[in-house]
């Protein structure tokens, strides 16, 4: 037994609540945080639903941080980061930070504009926000952002794992955050990508995604044999379709390649995967593409369970990879795969094993996370419980 990269701390806030316990309970009970949108001019968009973090959750965060003047994105990022850090006693001077985000704190910028004052906001720049989050958490290592569209989160975790493996960092805090804003609501409206109803990933009647917001954080460390961790990272990969800027490759070749390469890195065969945490946006093309990729790798065997969490928490964009990795950790600890909310009737070309109710997670198996995004990017991460291999 050698050492490996493990997740040793986690923090999360989503539309389902604050903390992993609240979020997990809601997932297992098939709750959805997608509700009627408030605080935005909903008639400007092609939907009036989204998965917003509740005011109750925000008040709790502000109370714990002791500062209600902080912006929504910044406070969520700091709070989630603090929760992950609290699980291990590590000298913060030895911790580097990677911020995973699509639009960072653009909402703060919008709010400043709407107030008619001179804009002093700077955290709409992901690099600036990364440095400020690190400073707020007194972290002494490097701080930078990874901004790779909806695959940002997994690519940030992969980046952290690589840095730990080669000794470029001692510990890594990966924080993913994105919040609802007029900007993203308008943008996805003009792409005609939003469903007027809560998203229904993989379902026959799916007609688009629901936007969400939140923050997730994972603390990564080198873990030696016999040391405890929430999960060990076994393999990963990233690829590019090199086909289209906004649409995925129809047959999922790029994602298939990313899955196969992650399995090869882990030294695993497909039978070792017990659950796939899909991207599952609820758009026609994405879910079809994922079904092709999964079928091509797992087609000749009893397929692992596959779910999307987008029906619960919406699409949290650049934070999705981190948030959904955090939400998958209890699968390993509780041995339960929560249902895929919004799914009723199979609506993708290749048959998938999508549970409508909670189902047992086969002990000893691993989780495959996969995310894809604009620019043709795909990212995959295999993680499981146990010791370093």
């Amino acid at each position: 037994m050698g050492s490996g990269v493990g997740i040793v701390g986690a923090g999360i806030v989503t539309a389902l609540g604050v903390g992993l316990d609240q979020n997990w309970s809601a997932l297992v009970n098939a709750k959805s945080g997608i509700e009627t949108l408030t605080g935005f001019p909903a008639d400007h968009y092609i939907t009036d639903v989204a998965a917003a973090v509740s005011e109750r959750s925000m008040n709790m965060i502000y109370e714990e941080l002791g500062d209600d003047s902080l912006s929504r994105a910044y406070s969520m990022a700091i709070w989630a980061g603090q929760k992950a850090l609290a699980e291990r006693s590590i000298n913060p001077e030895k911790i580097s930070l990677i911020l995973s985000t699509a639009k960072a704190d653009f909402k703060e910028f919008e709010d400043t504009l709407n107030s008619g004052t001179q804009s002093s906001a700077r955290r709409f720049n992901p690099g600036v926000m990364a440095r400020e989050v690190a400073d707020h958490l007194n972290l002494g290592g490097r701080a930078f952002a990874v901004s790779n569209a909806c695959a940002s989160g997994l690519i940030a975790i992969i980046q952290g794992a690589r840095m730990l493996q080669r000794g470029s960092a001692e510990h890594l805090l990966v924080v993913g955050v994105d919040v609802l804003s007029d900007f993203v609501l308008k943008g996805f409206s003009c792409l005609q990508a939003l469903s007027p109803r809560p998203a229904r990933p993989f379902d026959e009647a799916r007609d688009g995604l629901s936007l969400g917001e939140g923050a997730g954080a994972v603390l990564l460390s080198s873990v030696d044999a016999g040391e405890a961790s929430r999960a060990m990272l076994r393999g990963w990969s990233a690829t590019n379709d090199a086909v289209h800027i906004t649409a995925p490759s129809r047959e999922g070749a790029g994602l298939q390649s990313a899955i196969s390469k992650a399995l090869a890195m882990a030294g695993h065969n497909p039978e070792t995967i017990g659950y796939i945490n899909a991207h599952g946006t609820g758009t026609r093309f994405n879910d079809e593409m994922e079904s092709h990729a999964v079928a091509s790798v797992f087609g000749d065997m009893e397929q692992p369970f596959i779910t999307s969490m987008k029906g619960n928490i919406g699409h949290t964009l650049g934070a999705a990879g981190v948030i959904e990795t955090v939400l998958s950790l209890p699968v390993l600890e509780e041995n339960i795969v929560p249902p895929s909310v919004g799914f009723e009737t199979m609506g993708v070309p290749k048959e998938l094993n999508v549970p409508r109710e909670p189902v047992p997670f086969p002990a000893g198996k691993n989780i495959l996370g996969m995310k894809s995004g604009f620019g043709g990017v795909n990212a995959t991460l295999i993680f499981g419980s146990g010791e370093p291999s």
């Binding site: 952002a145 990874v146 790779n148 007029d182 943008g187 690829t239 590019n240 620019g375 990017v377």
Partner: protein, 256 residues
């Protein structure tokens, strides 16, 4: 572990357009005036649809002459690392000004409100199907992109990696920013691109070589500095080390 070398470079900045393939004889121009014909003889109709960041990145990359350095088999195992300070800020402002303030929706513009769209454009143009990463920080963006590109090739995850440092703003973005009471430098652009390859698969000699130099101070300023060193080759430039942590790049004063 594989040997890693720099096999090509390209630049587009205030000092001109140049690179491994050729030094353009066109007069220096701002990004608003840059046309595809200024950097390539090959037809590429998408160029006019790109935002400033992608145009700058594409122009610098085109000066490398990638098709002469690798075939499709290596391209499919080549990735992209991009470092940028301001990312797509100019396009963000354009989109907000048009879509929100003026209620003019533009899906294409929205796609460019993600800095990593640059990687998508470059991947499509060159058939690069390997890993992508877009890094944003206040400092050392390009150095980070170069170092990460090195590690990806050295580990065998990739056979090649295009590493870039790019920042660009259109004049019109700055005008839009003024509407929002933001001050942005006008018509600011710079793009530096380096092609890293596994020395076992690359043809010819590299322009620069990577080495670990524990204990030496190898702080590197920027990829602009690295471009300058490469362009000084053949002028009796001594071995110059330029680095990130213990990782350094040596540019030798020799003809290729």
């Amino acid at each position: 572990m594989s040997g890693v070398g720099i096999y090509g470079y390209g630049r587009y900045d205030a000092s001109g357009i140049s690179g491994t393939r050729r030094t353009s004889d066109i007069e220096l121009m701002g990004i608003d005036d840059l046309k595809w014909k200024h950097v390539s003889d090959v037809t590429y109709k998408r160029f006019g649809q790109l935002d400033a960041l992608s145009k700058a990145a594409m122009a610098a990359t085109e000066m490398i002459g990638i098709s002469e350095l690798m075939g499709a088999d290596i391209a499919s195992e080549t990735g992209i690392t991009l470092g940028t300070k301001d990312g797509c800020l100019g396009t963000d402002i354009d989109f907000r000004a048009n879509a929100i303030e003026r209620d003019v929706s533009n899906p294409r513009l929205f796609a460019y409100t993600l800095p990593s769209t640059v990687c998508g454009d470059l991947a499509i143009r060159h058939g690069f199907q390997g890993a992508n990463a877009c890094y944003m920080s206040e400092n050392d963006n390009g150095v980070l992109a170069l170092a990460e590109g090195f590690y990806l090739v050295e580990s065998g995850e990739l056979q090649g990696c295009l590493c870039l440092e790019v920042d660009a703003l259109f004049e019109e973005s700055a005008s839009a920013a003024n509407e929002f009471k933001m001050n942005l430098d006008t018509d600011r652009f710079s793009a530096y691109a380096f092609l890293l390859m596994n020395t076992d698969v690359a043809a010819g000699s590299p322009l620069g070589e990577f080495a670990f130099t524990p204990g030496e101070d190898c702080k590197m300023g920027s990829l602009r500095e690295l471009c300058g060193l490469i362009e000084s080759r053949g002028k009796d430039v001594p071995i110059t080390k330029i680095g990130y942590d213990d990782l350094a790049v040596s540019i030798r004063g020799m003809e290729r």
